[in-house]
Symmetry: C2
Subunit: 202 residues, 2 copies
DNA sequence: GACTGTAGTAATCGACTGATAACATGTCAA
DNA sequence: TTGACATGTTATCAGTCGATTACTACAGTC
């Protein structure tokens, strides 16, 4: 009951601090987008000063790239777990792992934002490569093109529902309730529990 | 060969001007996002002054809502055409119409951006309602929940590929080429021809 | 052919934001 | 202990942007 509360200012190694800031950046970039997020937003979320965020990563752009890399690394790690785990069909296992990534606040939405930045001279190429690597991975573990396409499509639909904060309409709007039931016949409770809500600051 | 070039400044009714600015807004908002777009960007695209854009719509936020409404209206009009037209399976007809909307520059991406603004106090609710209305429409014309979900998922995947400017990688990156072939077995040429490119200003 | 309402612009401003510079503080080896 | 480097902050600035104000000019009407 003492020692590690918010008021305790502890010095971290730059590596630890970078990792912490990247997680904060995923949450904020996910909620507000690349342009809509200020470096000060992220600094507050990570409980450091704004100039320190800029200095650790060089620029807001570089920070976003670091957050994108982290999101993709976590995504591939989840896929690996899906491949390794047992029982069900592989599509179902991978789907479960993808939903489980909702534990990482803002991950799906940061990916979505990156995927909408195709025109950006720096972020665009990186985002395209990340997406192509996902395709490559799915094909590599044996997905036929049609299955890879179907898996990606379902993933993009989940991303959209998360980014829209649709979970807030579940139980209020019958159309949305029906949608959740149709989209997540077995995982609905999990998604509703893990999905970010509109009233969250990020 | 005379009279209607760019240098000819013609006076329009406010209704006509609004319609013109909304089309410009779809293109620019689609390419740069809500926050990333300035009212001056849209004003230049529509060849009017920046203050006039603000005055006609009240605020940038209201302008985005108008652009979102227009995108949804065009979407439902396309769906109506898909329902009415002949021959193929209804899913295929609707899909063709959705791809045909690529003629409206920025439409798919503006929708995608709106769908990522779920946390926005004003835009979020409108975007959720728009999405729910799409679901409602699909169900209303006879789509079973599973088919509606599949149709939406494929649409979100198309949106993602467009927003990523993936078409630029076709022919260069074999992974991307394969993806297009898998995702658009019959419509690939159309999509590649109509898809916006990275080098477009918007 | 002046009157009047609508279309449209130029000038400007306050708030915000990413980045830089200068400074402060903690930690660890010798 | 002390130096020296890495961690971290305060102060500040130059550029940008949405919005407001004040002004101009065109078109139809009586």
């Amino acid at each position: 009951m003492a020692g590690d509360d918010a008021s305790t200012k502890k010095r971290l190694s730059s590596e630890e601090r970078r990792a912490q800031i990247i997680l904060a950046a995923l949450a904020v970039f996910g909620a507000k987008g690349y342009v809509g997020t200020t470096t000060d937003d992220i600094a507050r979320a990570a409980e450091v000063s704004q100039p320190y965020v800029v200095r650790l990563f060089g620029s807001k752009e570089q920070l976003f790239l670091a957050a994108l890399d982290e999101a993709l690394a976590l995504l591939f790690a989840a896929f690996e777990r899906g491949v390794a785990s047992g029982d069900e069909a592989i599509e179902a296992r991978m789907g479960h792992e993808y939903i489980g990534l909702l534990h990482v606040r803002g991950l799906h939405q940061t990916l979505s934002h990156a995927f909408l930045l195709g025109s950006h001279p720096v972020i665009g190429p990186r985002a395209r490569d990340g997406f192509a690597r996902v395709w490559e991975y799915l094909r590599g573990i044996g997905f036929e093109p049609e299955h890879a396409q179907e898996f990606l499509a379902q993933g993009m639909l989940l991303n959209t529902m998360i980014g829209l904060r649709l979970a807030d309409g579940h139980g209020e709007d019958p159309r949305i309730t029906e949608m959740f039931t149709a989209c997540f016949p077995t995982e609905k409770a999990t998604v509703l529990q893990l999905a970010p809500r509109v009233d969250e600051p990020w």
